[in-house]
């Protein structure tokens, strides 16, 4: 068990170019499931590879368990990594794959056998020991890769998009399994993904990265509800947060917080002061010109434009449960509202969070 720290960690692939990873400061907690989330090219995999020792940092420090490991080989770092492709050794059997790290450690044969059986049992692949990787399904390969990682009880687990090669259905179950597995072995884990659902579902904390920079670190709820900047706000959530330029600031609200007033009418807390124009108050009423609707089974997504006031002509998206029965015809205008507290304000140029500004 160990914690990982990075200090101003930077990787520049070509001199003069922007770094793939720029001065990243991270600190994991003991036994934590830390997710690095970002679009492709955000530097999350490069960061992971530097921690693994597969990529040499241009500058900065990496500490594992309090020791600087910059000059250590991957072997000396006592980490285990699961690759996106699983990187199983194709000429070895499942057993051969799993004992490989133990052999490299110089563990004696009987011990190896025991450990391999333990790891395979943990992942339910004991019956596959004599197969070759090419004879396995995607899900089985993923488990072999995990077994190979866990078998020598590493100080740190690094996982590079291990679920991205599975089909959608398998991915959901593998996600749950992986999460439970991590809780059980309680090894500090750094998990790279571009899939926000994975990040939100599995991570104790999420590190949102873009263009080599860490934009925000926080629990899934923190990064979703209190995004640090407009990138985090739009990267998380599907559809993303509505962002509307209002001159001195950018105001944002999540589609699920933008709902028809009719929806509100049935509830007790109808605000008395709902008016046509936006003003400071518990609710901000907005007129919403619907252009089209997507029906997704469990939910409905409405696309359209805001009308009137400072928001006139700005595109917005609303998301509501499909149990909400109202009919919204294309081209019709409806009274919608956002709770005052659900509005987030961002600096217009820098995109960072700012204090709320009055809307009227």
């Amino acid at each position: 068990m160990a914690i990982v720290q990075t200090r101003a960690l930077t990787k520049v692939f070509k001199k003069g170019e922007l770094g793939a990873v720029n001065s990243v400061d991270l600190e994991s907690r003991e036994g934590e499931f830390l997710v690095l989330l970002g679009p492709s090219g955000s530097g999350k995999t490069t960061l992971l590879r530097m921690i693994a020792g597969l990529e040499e940092p241009t500058s900065g420090e990496i500490l594992i368990g309090g020791r600087v490991v910059n000059d250590m080989t991957p072997r000396e770092r006592r980490i285990a990594m699961v690759f996106q492709s699983y990187a199983l050794y194709p000429h070895l059997t499942v057993f051969g794959n799993i004992v490989f790290p133990l052999k490299a450690q110089g563990m004696e044969k009987g011990e190896r056998q025991k450990k391999a059986e333990w790891a395979a049992g943990l992942l339910g692949i004991g019956h596959l020991m004599h197969r070759k990787p090419r004879e396995l399904s995607g899900g089985e390969r993923q488990r072999v890769a995990l077994a190979r990682a866990i078998v020598r009880e590493p100080a740190l687990f690094l996982l590079d998009e291990p679920l991205s090669n599975l089909d959608a259905k398998l991915r959901a179950s593998a996600r749950t399994e992986l999460e439970q597995f991590q809780r059980r072995v309680a090894t500090t884990t750094i998990y790279v993904t571009h899939d926000q659902v994975e990040a939100m579902a599995m991570g104790d904390r999420v590190v949102v990265m873009n263009k080599g920079l860490v934009r925000q670190i926080g629990t899934p709820a923190e990064v979703y509800d209190e995004p640090a900047d407009t990138f985090v706000a739009t990267f998380l959530g599907s559809p993303p947060m509505n962002l509307i330029d209002i001159g001195e600031a950018t105001v944002g609200f999540r589609p699920e917080h933008f709902f028809p007033v009719s929806h509100l009418a049935g509830q007790a807390a109808v605000p008395a002061d709902m008016r046509e124009d936006a003003r400071v108050g518990p609710y901000v009423p907005l007129r919403f010109l619907i252009s089209h609707e997507e029906y997704l089974g469990a939910e409905r997504i409405l696309y359209g434009k805001l009308e009137g006031g400072r928001f006139d002509g700005k595109p917005a998206v609303s998301r509501m449960s499909s149990t909400h029965g109202a009919v919204f015809e294309s081209g019709s205008v409806h009274a919608f509202a956002v709770r005052q507290g659900d509005l987030k304000f961002f600096h217009r140029e820098q995109g960072t969070r700012t204090q709320p500004v009055p809307l009227s």
Partner: protein, 295 residues
């Protein structure tokens, strides 16, 4: 003719030229060689008498033949071992990115693209008894006796070593290219996974990388074996099989006996000795090629 009927003829029509080519240039000479080996044909003779296995018997009794047979094996095995070692080391060096890599790759390919005969003539000068540059250098550094420097092509052991080394020089690029291709075919993740798993250089090389390349290495070796077993260029140009037939290999001996010695029948018998062995090698080659395809 219906489309289907046309298709039925089109296929065979397309590969007919290939079949004709193989029959004319491989099949006919092969049958001819077989007929010669059981007959009494000499250059210029008109008749043909069946003599059974007499030619093979006489060949087997000749000490020169036995020597050539042994030499063929020494020549092939030694040069292939050297080629394999050299090609792996070169491929390992060349797979890394470094400035001037393209130029170095080009240089290494040169011996393969240059005609063997020209290359070998160059080597003949380099190894010459009087004008050898190697000896010139060694004498300047006082490493060999100025008055009796080594005669690279004139002493049986040295001659054999020279022939093997020159042939290795010639075969090396081809094997390097094949093995380099095999190396680039290994996904980068796998050796990386091995390093993270704690494997150091040699464990990675011998337990992961080389086993993964084995099908491709096999192809390189089998090609090399066939090329070397059937080739006489280097021997012919450098030593003509000398001194005293000590570097004679089966193809060169077949040539000297059958063509230059005008005993076609015995020459054919010598060259046919290679057939069973080459059949086995060819079969192995097809099998590995097939295996390499599957994985």
């Amino acid at each position: 003719m219906s489309a289907l009927g046309r298709q039925r003829w089109l296929g065979p029509a397309m590969f007919l030229p290939a079949i004709l080519y193989v029959v004319a240039l491989v099949g006919v000479p092969f049958v001819l060689a077989f007929l010669y080996s059981v007959g009494d044909v000499k250059v210029g003779s008109v008749g043909y008498h069946f003599v059974g296995l007499a030619n093979f018997k006489s060949v087997l009794q000749s000490p020169t033949f036995l020597r050539s047979l042994r030499n063929s094996f020494v020549f092939t095995i030694a040069s292939q071992v050297l080629v394999l070692l050299g090609a792996n080391i070169l491929a390992m060096a060349l797979k890394n990115v470094f400035p001037g890599r393209r130029f170095v790759r080009f240089l290494i390919l040169l011996p393969w693209v240059a005609p063997v005969s020209i290359g070998s003539i160059g080597w003949k000068w380099i190894l010459d008894s009087l004008y050898s540059v190697i000896n010139w250098v060694l004498i300047r550094f006082h490493l060999v006796n100025e008055f009796s420097p080594p005669m690279y092509l004139g002493e049986p052991k040295l001659a054999m070593i020279s022939v093997i080394l020159v042939h290795t020089w010639h075969m090396l690029p081809f094997a390097t290219v094949i093995i380099l291709a095999g190396w680039t075919a290994i996904p980068k993740d796998i050796p990386e996974a091995a390093s993270v798993d704690g494997a150091r250089f040699f464990r990675r090389l011998f337990q992961i990388e080389l086993p993964m390349m084995l099908p491709i290495i096999n192809v390189a070796v089998l090609f090399g074996v066939i090329f070397t077993f059937t080739d006489m260029t280097v021997v012919y140009i450098l030593t003509r099989g000398g001194p005293y037939d000590t570097t004679q290999v089966l193809p060169s001996q077949a040539f000297f006996t059958g063509i230059l010695g005008s005993d076609l029948a015995e020459g054919a018998a010598i060259s046919l000795f290679l057939v069973p062995l080459l059949v086995v090698v060819a079969w192995l080659m097809l099998r590995t090629a097939h295996k390499a395809e599957v994985t």
